[in-house]
Symmetry: C2
Subunit: 201 residues, 2 copies
């Protein structure tokens, strides 16, 4: 981390940059030099964008999405179906589904998954608000779009139990061969799931 002759201002910048995911001490130094060579084109705009985003962006009190307005633009969009809520772990997952244009209903961001190892309990997640939303008359379906990991699936089972009696159908994403996937490289679990859920051509 030490850059010796670089002054404390550069040191501090490098230390902070190195805390970003994907950057280590070495790439943080490279990024700092890159920024110092592009002050007006990149460094000052980035400083401003960081400050503005930190001040303006807040968690949506309905779904947990991040936006400048509360409720967020997804929760208030008039052209989105109100009868389906897609449950995701993180805002990053919400963005991924939006990029894919896979879903045109509302979302609910859990903020993580249950994990005995990491000590994440149901009360640590945004679950009670989900149950409340699921009880609303307009809501007919809850799609559990959680990661296909052990913790993700444990959480999905827990949520399915909790949502029983809320008068909604609870669904989850299909398992199968990913688009462009080669059978030879797929794991046994995926192949078995794809076989089990096979459909007519």
């Amino acid at each position: 981390m030490r850059s010796a002759s670089a002054g404390p201002e550069i040191e501090r910048l490098i230390t902070l940059l190195a805390k970003l995911p994907g950057l280590g001490p070495r790439s943080a130094r490279r990024a700092a030099l890159h920024l110092l060579g592009r002050r007006d084109a990149l460094m000052r705009p980035l400083a401003q964008a960081l400050g503005e985003a930190a001040d303006k962006i807040a968690e949506c009190s309905v779904c947990g999405n991040l936006d400048v307005s509360d409720p967020c633009s997804v929760c208030t969009a008039p052209n989105r179906a109100e009868n389906a809520i897609c449950v995701v772990e993180t805002v990053g997952d919400l963005w991924a589904l939006e990029r894919a244009g896979a879903f045109r209903g509302r979302y609910h961001v859990l903020g993580g998954v249950l994990s005995a190892l990491d000590g994440v309990r149901p009360e640590d997640l945004n679950i009670s608000k989900l149950i409340e939303r699921a009880r609303a008359d307009a809501v007919e379906e809850i799609v559990l779009a959680l990661n296909a990991t052990v913790d993700g699936q444990t959480t999905a089972h827990y949520l399915a139990d909790r949502l029983e009696g809320c008068g909604v159908s609870v669904t989850s994403l299909a398992r199968g061969v990913p688009v462009g996937g080669e059978l030879d490289y797929l794991d046994d679990g995926t192949l078995a799931a794809a076989f089990k859920s096979r459909s007519n051509v």
Copy 2:
């Protein structure tokens, strides 16, 4: 790059983060979410550090190093030898040599290397100031610490020519087996150089 439901403030932040070396669109999104989850611990301090560094840090008019003072702290350090100047391509290289504690003289940052392909000519580099410094009475040795690339070595030869008649000895870094290096994995050029420059044990 599109994150759909994310507002323009987040979009802008992601676009700027993606311009950092080592971050692409995907890792920039991850970094943005990481920052938004650590606003007071990381996001606001980073915004401030970027702004301050952009305003305060300037190129040293003597050697080309980056520092808050001009001349820089290396040029003004009383405990560093004034009879040797180490020529490096970039400030990053200067930092690397300082981290290694390999040199206790002064530096000269070229700002790049000659390159016919990229159209970098001698007048594009910080060369005339180097010749000027080399002519000073106190200076006895110029160490060329340029990268062992084709362009780096072309530049070293060019500089050695230009420095002739300045009354300094021009040296360059040794070639050989890097510490911890395994012969089997080294290229032929390095092995040949290491053999040629072998020394008594």
